[in-house]
Symmetry: C2
Subunit: 413 residues, 2 copies
């Protein structure tokens, strides 16, 4: 393969159909941000929206804003917008709580829909909160449920008639491997197993077709590719065919059929709203809506195409520039099998990540030895990838990672 130059990358940017989206974010100068898969960047409209929310709505209209500015409708309205990103219908998605809480709600619901089956299947390498929530619920219920953890290649044989629910994250948070959501969902359904997909690491970076695949339930987070801000509210999806059958485990007043009747007995709202619990977090919802609106202006097929190209470029450049330094690919080479991130393995992964951050290239580290680079196609350029790999090359060549301050682990990376 011919060597790539920075000019080649500039040429790719000049014809990028998504190039104009970069101006719709407030990005700091001198930084290459490869962590949009962990915290998405700040959309240009968010500050204005929040200032209006604070000044006009909360400050001036006060309690009246629940009606006047439809605060009360935000979970449903923004849910309907997210539905368009994940192949669901308007009334199948609602914004509420955090991903962890929503996993709890939906897993509890799934187990009640399959009362005779006692096994929950997930992947050994799933994101920890997904596994912890399963463990916590099993312990709480004390009804003899069991978590069956397998590796990805063992999944097909694990899906037997004892299994109530299959809980998978579509894109592996470490290695970036992408599950075939459609095939896996179909196999689960064939065996009467409910699927619960965690879309946190995929939604917004690729088209997702939950209903076309026949998926039962899903959750996802608002602060990664949806650019909703740190700790943004999360969302949940329940296919319409299940909605009437599921009694919420967490029966809060916002999920009541008529919350403002203040009746003493819980009566669930007819549809997806019954999975609301407390008062909607309006500040977080407003910021999330700006991020989601921005994404709705983009063609997700173009987003996916660019995401694959950015990843391919990164792999090729690391091979070209850093092969001599023991930086080993730890993600699928084939972009069709990969989410919007790549991963490399190196014994000094943590220190290398810190040395890169010191040079303005922000990726992250995942224990024990994974360097992770995410690509948010709406604001990342091909030259950014070139610059990042050039920085990695310098860090490796000069052993710039070999300094005590890069080896001390902070609480969050």
């Amino acid at each position: 393969m011919p060597r790539l130059s920075r000019d080649d990358c500039e040429r790719l940017d000049s014809t990028d159909a998504l190039g104009a989206f970069r101006n719709r974010f407030e990005l700091p100068g001198g930084i290459v941000y490869l962590d949009g898969n962990s915290l998405g960047a700040l959309p240009a409209g968010t500050r204005r929206r929040l200032d209006d929310l604070l000044r006009e709505q909360w400050g001036n209209d006060l309690i009246r804003s629940w009606n006047r500015h439809d605060w009360i409708g935000m979970p449903r309205r923004i849910g309907a917008k997210i539905a368009r990103l994940i192949g669901a219908d308007d009334d199948e998605v609602i914004v509420a709580d955090s991903t962890s809480i929503n996993l709890f709600k939906l897993l509890a619901a799934a187990l009640r829909l399959r009362p005779k089956r006692k096994v929950i299947v997930s992947e050994r390498g799933n994101f920890p909160t997904d596994l912890y929530i399963i463990q916590g619920l099993i312990s709480l219920l004390d009804q003899g449920h069991e978590l069956r953890l397998v590796d990805a290649d063992e999944l097909p044989s694990a899906l037997d008639a004892e299994v109530a629910a299959l809980l998978l994250t579509q894109v592996d948070y470490r290695c970036g491997r992408l599950h075939d959501l459609t095939a896996m969902t179909r196999q689960a359904r064939t065996n009467g197993i409910l699927t619960l997909w965690d879309l946190s690491h995929s939604a917004g970076a690729m088209p997702i077709e939950l209903n076309a695949a026949g998926a039962d339930m899903a959750v996802g987070c608002g602060y990664k590719y949806l650019n909703g801000g740190p700790g943004a509210p999360a969302y949940l999806f329940i296919a319409r065919r299940h909605q009437g059958d599921v009694q919420p485990a967490i029966a809060g007043w916002m999920g009541h059929a008529a919350p403002f009747e203040f009746a003493p007995d819980y009566r669930p709202a007819p549809g997806i709203e019954r999975h609301l619990a407390g008062t909607p977090p309006v500040l977080g919802l407003a910021a999330l809506e700006v991020g989601v609106d921005l994404l709705l202006d983009a063609d997700l097929h173009l987003v996916r195409e660019k995401s694959r190209r950015l990843g391919d470029l990164c792999l090729r450049l690391v091979e070209q520039e850093c092969a001599a330094f023991g930086v080993e690919r730890a993600c699928p080479r084939d972009s069709a099998l990969r989410g919007s991130q790549v991963a490399f393995r190196h014994p000094q992964g943590y220190a290398i990540t810190q040395a890169l951050i010191a040079k303005g290239v922000i990726g992250d580290f995942r224990a024990p030895d994974i360097l992770r680079f995410g690509f948010a196609p709406l604001y990342l350029r091909y030259v950014d990838v070139w610059d990042a790999v050039a920085a990695l090359h310098r860090v490796m060549r000069n052993k710039a990672w070999d300094r005590p301050e890069f080896k001390h682990k902070a609480s969050v990376t």
Copy 2:
């Protein structure tokens, strides 16, 4: 009693030790806001704080802000501040999720601490979400638990040896009646019953001494007297003596002893942090912190004293100005038995509330016939109460409520 005039109220304001706090809020002109018990007003510092959070922290420092600006420490830091408002120690309170979710977590914890007892006692008139959460948990667990609902005066006789937990809201959301938290907690403890207090309608409006009373658990909301903004994050309290014994029902990654080790097995954090679940909602937390900081500058004994006076003034003025119109007191007359709100009953309560709002006096209505006026002593003046009652007088005298547009119920009031 001599008739009170507006001048008398102005004199009370001129010597009000808390008078200067009003300038620390952004309040709309021409409005008397008697709904701070539902949504607190906007503190003057909140817009600046949020703009800095968006621009400098999220926008510029991006993912690094989790360490650099201690986002990761916010639940604990703000929890420790709220602890000072409710008579708890620093490490006994954490900010997380919503009141409803926190009720679920703590009630589940309480039931696990009392495995042989199957009864949960609460009040018939408790805030609905408290009751719904109990009902939902009982149904989820399917372990033969029972909700015993009684009226306030029947509580003492309901607290027998079958009872695992007593869940009460300190101030009744409708009539404003204030429970004796200390006496009720003591009686419950004598019978081996765990207390779970909902402080949503009291914290920030009066001193609360959870530890002095021997309370076991508590929750509360951030958007009423704490002025944290619409749908602000809530908090939870667990007395230190229980913290090591409680396995969280919702076992999320932020409650793990070492979340960034990404270990596959859940191991709870040693203390109160184990009750965190998902990623902290940073925008909401930042706004909440501004409100809490403001309140920490005030002497809660002075706040309580003014709150009682505002309520007494309102009752006296309504009696003086509106006795002829069938507006009936529906709250305790004795301010020692009342939270920071008063209530009146009238068959046209809803329409009267709407007519008052049209005149710029914002209170609220609670079914079936309750007009509710709340007093947030940090920004409410005695003349505001005078003006509100004068408006009520005009509405009643002119039957201004008798218009079709005031009788149509909106979704939220």
